[in-house]
Symmetry: none
Subunit: 229 residues, 2 copies
Amino acid sequence: MIQKTSETKTKTISVIIVEDFKLTRVGLRCALNANEDINVVAEAEDAVEGLKLIEKHKPDVILMDLGLPGMNGIEAMVKCKEMMFDSKIIALTSHDRSEEVIAALSSGASAYCLKDIDPNKLADVVRDVSTGVCWIDPMVAQMTLNALPKIDNIGFLPNKSNTEGRVPLTEREFEVLKHLVSGKSNTEIAKELIVSVHTAKAHVCSILQKMCVNDRVQAAVKAVKEGMV
Amino acid sequence: MIQKTSETKTKTISVIIVEDFKLTRVGLRCALNANEDINVVAEAEDAVEGLKLIEKHKPDVILMDLGLPGMNGIEAMVKCKEMMFDSKIIALTSHDRSEEVIAALSSGASAYCLKDIDPNKLADVVRDVSTGVCWIDPMVAQMTLNALPKIDNIGFLPNKSNTEGRVPLTEREFEVLKHLVSGKSNTEIAKELIVSVHTAKAHVCSILQKMCVNDRVQAAVKAVKEGMV
DNA sequence: TAATCCATTACCCGATTGTCTAATTTATTG
DNA sequence: CAATAAATTAGACAATCGGGTAATGGATTA
């Protein structure tokens, strides 16, 4: 067993847990309180109660379940952020839907953990987050990074990888590519661009060749991965 | 001093350092090699050399300086990602400009560290990132989260769309999905999984239904965007 | 035990895809 | 002006796709 060796601040980290399932709540409290530098100061089983306790205790870190009854965790976080503490929020759910992850992180969460996280790991995350780190579970890390706005590499990057080696798509082909990525058939693309199916097919064909792929699925995946759309 | 207690995989983590300043390079190597579960397998002082070494060693983690002479770190990361290993990249710079941070993270980096990070902490980050975690330095965490697209919280209903809406894919279907995303035809998928084409088609069919999409292109795009693969 | 889910295979059928060759028009560039 | 590139259209063809229905065996669950 390899021990983590990072120094942590001597001050104990105060934590509030907001989670509707009693069993999970107990589990979280035990897991965290087992660490002498972490202190669970309060627990709530719904968002309203949670907000009261947060206002009262002003904890360093808030463990917030997103699937709360009544006011959900996202709303609670928004309200929490309006209260001007610098409490850090860890979103803790079993969901891995892209919209929910992004919503949580853009609404005030500094971390996103899935509930099957190792308890010791969770303690590490609490420590990290209390210092301001943004920590995102492996299961949803990629989708989060993908949600970041693509920077226009032209101008930022030297013109090597853009001009050389890669044959650039024409404007029209880019239009077709966008529709292709959105899952439209050649017929639908043609209708959208007000051209014949033959034209759409011709464009798709040249797109496939220029992108060096064999079919539209590969083209779509490559386009998404490389942020072309 | 409080010890971190998270379990770490016994397998050592191989690391490549790409950094132009010799002194920093030595410092990084020493700091990381002091951990018995981390092994710096190679170092490069520019991107070109770095890419060669990366291709050769296929390391678990890449420490990439962004301010390299010639090809910069962002461009190097893009090229690196095109090589389709699942090496994780830690962007390591002294800059905290928003554009650079976002550019790095949206171009393939899984983590962003400022160079004044505690060496022991860096080792923790290497461990985290090797498991897929996204880790962002406190100094730039907020600006990164701010760059995420804002979701309209009103009307956000975790209760509905999560439990009822989503049907989870089976393991087998996930295998099929992976091949689908890589652009394989049903015939090829069947060959890969050593089943009949009928079976592959059946799986694809149920994948489309469960993912609520009309065709394989949409399935592939959705899978990539949501990080399912 | 009965019910349910999963993986597997099979057949049919209409729609779609990707490639080919070939032609016309418009713009841009040398 | 000539040449080149892009956008457009067309017909034909083999291959693939997606949907539908249906059957079987195995595993798990109620």
